[in-house]
Symmetry: C2
Subunit: 221 residues, 2 copies
DNA sequence: CTAAAAATTTAGACTTGTCTAAATTTTTAT
DNA sequence: ATAAAAATTTAGACAAGTCTAAATTTTTAG
C-alpha cells in the first residue's frame, strides 16, 4: 500500500518517462512535483526499496513493471473521475483536474470498476486522454499535433497536451471543442501560426504555441 | 484549512458530544480514533489553538461554533457520498462507510453542492441518518428506538444506530429494510427481545441488542 | 584531458502525527 | 478526609516527507 505522496511520484515518473527518452532525472521530478532535488532523492530511495523503480545513484530512474502498473492504475482513476465530474456533475473540462488529483487516491478496486460501468466504460477523458485498462495497459492513439498537419487535410480535434485552465478556456473562446473537424488553410512560415477552417463554422487563427498542444486524428480514409 | 486528521477529530468530537451529556473526554476520543490518550492531548491543543474547540486541561472538550460548522460539513460530505455509492453505483448499504471515510475529505464546496443536486437533494443517507444542510445545520428527527416501542403500535423502520457491516448484513438476512412497517407483537421481559410482524411479510424475532440499534417513527396519525 | 558548471546525493534539521513511560490531576472508595 | 485508582498531560522519541547547505559525482567546454 502506497501513500498519496508515493502515488504522486509514480504518476509523475510515468509522465516524464513518456515524454523524453530514457531515464527520468532527479531535477525533472523536483520541478514537476514542486519540491527540491534532495527531497526527490529521499523518495527515490524509498521507491527503489519497494521495487517500484529501477534506481542507480546519479543515473536517473525508471519504473519497474509493478511501478508502471500502479502508475497506470492511478491515471485510470484520475481520468475516470474527470469523466464523472464533467459528464455527471456538469463541470467544465477546465475545472476538473484539481479535484481528480484528490479523487485518484481513493483506494477501492471495486469503486473504480463500478464507476467505470456507471460512466459507460468511456475510452477517453474530457481532455481526450485515453483511459488505461483495468489490467494496466495504456491504449495507444495515433494522434499528431495540429502544428504538423499540412494545408488542406481535414482533421478532427481529439485531445490536448496542455491541461491548464487558461489554455482550456482559451480553446473554448476560440470555439475549439474536442471532436470538431478543422482544415488548415494557411501556415505562416514566420511564426508557424495557422489559419484553420472550423467545418460548418468560422475561421480561426491559431498560434504555434496553441497548435503544438492540440492533438488531431485523420478522419477515416 | 484542516488536515484529514484534524477533520477526523472534529467529526469524532461531534459524534461523542451528541451521544453523551457535556464534555468529551480524552480517553473516549482515544478509543474512537484508535490512538492513545497522549496523542489525543497533542491534537486537542492544536485544535484549541485554531479555535475549533473549547479545551481546558483535564476538563474535557467541546466544539466551538466554527468547529461544529466544520464537523457538520464533513458529515454532510460523508453522507452524500454514501448516497452516491448506493443509489448510483449500486453498492449495498453495508459496503459504503469505509469509502465515504475517504471521500468525505475531498475538498471542494462546488463538488459537494453539485453532487447534492445530482443526487436529487436527498434528506437521508442509506442508513437513515439525516444529511446536514449546506449551511451546517443538522436536521432533527423524532425517532425512537424499536426497543422502546409498545406492543401493537405500527411503526416504520427509519434508521440504524450501529453501522458495522455485520449488523447491517444481519438486518438484510432478517428482511429488515429501511422504510418497512413493523408491529411489535410480544416483548419478552426476561431478555427484552421482541417479536415483530413485518407488515405484508413474515414475523421476525429481534434481540434487544438489535432492537436498541433500530430507529423507528410513528407513521402519520 | 582537465577544470568549471551542473546535477545529484548526503548531512542535519523541521513539522505532523504518533508512541511509551513518567508525572500530574481528578475521581472514587473506604 | 484521604489513599488508591483512573484519567490526563508532559517528556522524550520516532517515521514520513520536506528543507537548506555542504559534499560528491557527472557532464560540458575549452
Ligand atoms: Mn487531469
Ligand atoms: Mn484529463
Ligand atoms: Mn458512514
Ligand atoms: Mn451512513
Amino acid at each position: 500500500m502506497q501513500s498519496f505522496t508515493e502515488e504522486n511520484y509514480l504518476k509523475t515518473i510515468y509522465y516524464l518517462a513518456n515524454r523524453q527518452q530514457g531515464e527520468v532525472s532527479t531535477n525533472a521530478l523536483a520541478e514537476m512535483t514542486a519540491t527540491k532535488a534532495a527531497s526527490v532523492t529521499d523518495m527515490l530511495r524509498k521507491l527503489a526499496d519497494k521495487q517500484l523503480i529501477h534506481y542507480k545513484k546519479y543515473q536517473g530512474v525508471r519504473l519497474t513493471e509493478e511501478g508502471e502498473r500502479l502508475a497506470l492504475q492511478i491515471i485510470r482513476r484520475h481520468r475516470l473521475w474527470e469523466v464523472f465530474l464533467v459528464d455527471k456533475l456538469g463541470f467544465r473540462w477546465d475545472q476538473v483536474h484539481e479535484m481528480a488529483e484528490e479523487l485518484e487516491h481513493i483506494r477501492s478496486e471495486e469503486l473504480v470498476e463500478r464507476l467505470d460501468t456507471f460512466l459507460g466504460h468511456p475510452q477517453f477523458d474530457p481532455h481526450g486522454d485515453p483511459i488505461p485498462t483495468p489490467a494496466g495497459q495504456m491504449p495507444v492513439t495515433g494522434y499528431q499535433k495540429l502544428s504538423e498537419v499540412v494545408v488542406g487535410e481535414p482533421v478532427q480535434l481529439m485531445g490536448v497536451l496542455e491541461h491548464s485552465t487558461e489554455f482550456l478556456q482559451h480553446l473554448d473562446r476560440s470555439n475549439l471543442t474536442l471532436g470538431c473537424t478543422v482544415v488548415v488553410q494557411e501556415v505562416n512560415t514566420f511564426d508557424r501560426s495557422v489559419l484553420v477552417q472550423l467545418v460548418g463554422d468560422r475561421t480561426v487563427f491559431i498560434s504555434y504555441e496553441v497548435a503544438k498542444n492540440l492533438l488531431v486524428n485523420q478522419p477515416a480514409g
